[in-house]
């Protein structure tokens, strides 16, 4: 059996006295699309931040392609090619679209001066590459002048442009209209063909069921379900997400 792209083992997270994640373990296969589901406050975004290296876990081990990672921080995840679309979109409103897309990863000459023309051109290109959003006039626009969906498209464009091995999307479609949502979900299935894995956090179980190979359901910081797509149904996912472990148990007993 080949190694999983990312395996996390016994991950816990405490914020002060509150335990937000309890002993969570799972893996993400090469080229796999994994749905991360659960009620509000279940701990999905916290898990996303830990996997992205933005937040430290209180306990737990991480293995990348079978190799243990000593510390998951942003430098490590960036080197590994992990890109994340954060739920609280990580954009700087006072800066232009181009500067947001290339923030921290500017295209520069040897002295560190930015190649603005080149960055503008690439930004215009990636803005339209996956989801096309109406009304974005130019990559020189400030992000503060964009609508919620337009800003989300910028965050998507950035992650898509820089992802290399794992793309994590935390409710990426929450502000998108139908056509843009379709395009993004379609893109995830296409990524699989390119060998890029993805993690999709969403409250729309139909969307998740449609594109994900595997579903992980979180409830109050614990993993209560981890099923391949062919072993589950939208109904079972709904029971697990809405009613937790008890609901899942009841659903399974009723069914079998």
């Amino acid at each position: 059996m080949s190694n999983a792209l990312l395996r996390i083992e016994g991950v816990s997270k405490k914020y002060g006295p509150n335990t937000v994640l309890k002993d969570v373990s799972f893996e993400i296969g090469q080229g796999e699309v994994v749905g991360l589901l659960g009620d509000n406050g279940a701990g999905k975004s916290t898990l996303v931040k830990i996997m992205s290296g933005v937040v430290d876990s209180t306990a737990g081990d991480f293995f990348w392609d079978g190799q243990k990672i000593d510390k998951m921080n942003r430098e490590v995840t960036e080197r590994l090619g992990v890109e994340t679309i954060f739920q609280d979109s990580a954009l700087v409103p006072q800066m232009t679209i181009t500067r947001n897309i290339f923030m921290g990863r500017e295209v520069t000459n040897r002295l560190g001066f930015m190649k603005m023309k080149e960055m503008d051109a690439v930004a215009a290109e990636v803005l339209d590459s996956v989801v096309t959003i109406e009304g974005i006039k130019s990559p020189k626009q400030l992000v503060s002048s964009l609508s919620g969906g337009q800003a989300q498209a910028v965050a998507i464009a950035r992650a898509v442009h820089f992802k290399r091995s794992l793309l994590i999307l935390d409710e990426p479609t929450s502000a998108l209209a139908v056509r843009a949502t379709e395009a993004l979900l379609g893109y995830l299935t296409q990524l699989k063909g390119e060998g890029v894995s993805s993690v999709l956090v969403t409250h729309n179980l139909h969307h998740a069921y449609q594109v994900c190979d595997r579903h992980i359901v979180m409830n109050h910081g614990k993993k209560i379900m981890d099923s391949r797509r062919e072993d589950t149904s939208v109904e079972e996912l709904t029971a697990a997400v809405v009613e937790g472990a008890v609901g899942l148990q009841r659903f399974r007993e009723g069914k079998f």
């Binding site: 700087v92 006072q94 923030m103 339209d128 974005i136 379709e182 379609g186 296409q190």
Partner: protein, 369 residues
């Protein structure tokens, strides 16, 4: 550009997503974002819409109008309003504008990073004292290095306190201001530090020479302005300053080290303040430790930045705006002086200008595209 391309009206638009096969190609519709006009003028007009509301343009118009008014008034009445008199241009304008502009750049760059340093005035005094003492004892070049170095060290210590204790910089640097003021007296004693023989020659030529209608300081402003522009608006480190001041969480999520960037901003602030302190010391020849003469610069520097469109909450500002802001403040001061307005008028008008500029800024922040 907002018109729809024909491909947009695909038939699958209306049907609910679950019952429809996924689009096979993710790239369904391609609509080019941002096609710029070809002609030079067209491109200028096109780009202008993105510059509007970002600070520099509006304030520059105000400056040009004011300047035109001064020139006309001075042509009509060369003695009544002696703006164009070489003594005024070289003696006042080309000495005061560069100093305030350099200090405004210092304060402004730090404000873009989301921080303040209210010990600016105390830093000037201390750096100027060190500059004077070192120049007198060990020569000009060591003196320059010591003056600029003192500015950097003072600001970096302030920065370390702010970054690691997370005390608001407003409070931390206000407190440190008294400390640095005291340090100046500790090092120099209470009598003024004065340049004597060392001021003649190279030092005078470099920092205060009269070229007829302008002085050395103006050349320094040009050099520093150009370097600052390329650094702030075109260098990746400058870009990080905006990111950290605009949304620190976003900057961190993308692996920008916010602490480092803030410390760098403090260091740049200190370097510019140290350099300005040299200009001030050479112009006045002596500095009073613990004196209040330099204290005014703290708020005037912040005022220049604000008038120039720098946001008080970080993430927004421009080099050209700040220089224009400083020039505007000094021009108003100069105009009132030439019109022989009483002293308190000057304070009053500068105050009003700052408040109007801040309100204007706030409006523009909403309009910025």
């Amino acid at each position: 550009m907002s018109d729809k391309t024909p491909g947009n009206s695909s038939p699958r638009k209306q049907t609910p997503i679950l019952e429809v096969p996924l689009p096979t190609e993710a790239v369904t519709v391609r609509r080019k974002t941002g096609g710029e006009p070809d002609t030079y003028l067209g491109r200028l007009a096109y780009n202008l819409q993105f510059i509007r509301g970002r600070g520099a343009l509006e304030i520059s118009i105000v400056l040009v109008v004011l300047l035109a008014g001064y020139v006309i008034a001075s042509l009509i009445s060369p003695t009544g309003f002696a703006f164009l008199n070489p003594n005024n241009l070289s003696g006042v304008i080309s000495q005061s504008v560069p100093v305030l502009a350099i200090l405004g750049l210092a304060a402004g760059i730090l404000m873009i990073a989301g921080e303040f340093d209210l010990s600016l005035g105390a830093n000037i005094t201390l750096s100027a004292i060190i500059f004077i003492q070192t120049s007198e004892a060990a020569g000009l070049w060591l003196g320059i290095a010591a003056g600029v170095g003192t500015g950097v060290v003072v600001a970096l210590i302030n920065g370390l306190i702010v970054v690691y204790t997370k005390i608001p910089s407003f409070i931390a640097t206000l407190g440190m201001s008294f400390f640095w003021m005291g340090a100046g007296i500790f090092i120099n004693g209470t009598s003024p530090a004065a340049l004597t023989t060392s001021r003649e020659g190279t030092m005078e030529f470099l920092f205060a020479h009269n070229f007829g209608s302008f002085r050395s300081q103006l050349v320094w402003l040009l050099i520093i302005g150009v370097v600052a522009w390329f650094f702030v608006h075109r260098h990746r480190l400058g870009n990080h300053i905006f990111a950290v001041g605009g949304n620190p969480a976003a900057a961190e999520a993308i692996s920008i080290n916010t602490k480092k960037v803030k410390l760098m901003s403090f260091a740049i602030f200190g370097g510019l303040v140290g350099f300005a302190s040299i200009l001030i010391a050479v112009r006045t020849s002596s500095i009073q430790p613990g004196g209040t003469a330099t204290e005014d610069f703290t708020l005037f520097a912040i005022a220049a930045a604000v008038v120039g469109g720098t946001s008080l909450t970080g993430g927004r500002g421009s080099v050209i705006g700040i220089i224009v802001g400083a020039a505007l403040i000094e021009l108003i001061r100069n105009g009132l002086l030439l019109a022989k307005a009483p002293g308190f008028y000057i304070t009053l008008f500068v105050g009003v200008t700052i408040v109007i500029a801040a309100i204007f800024n706030k409006l523009m922040e909403g309009k910025a595209r």
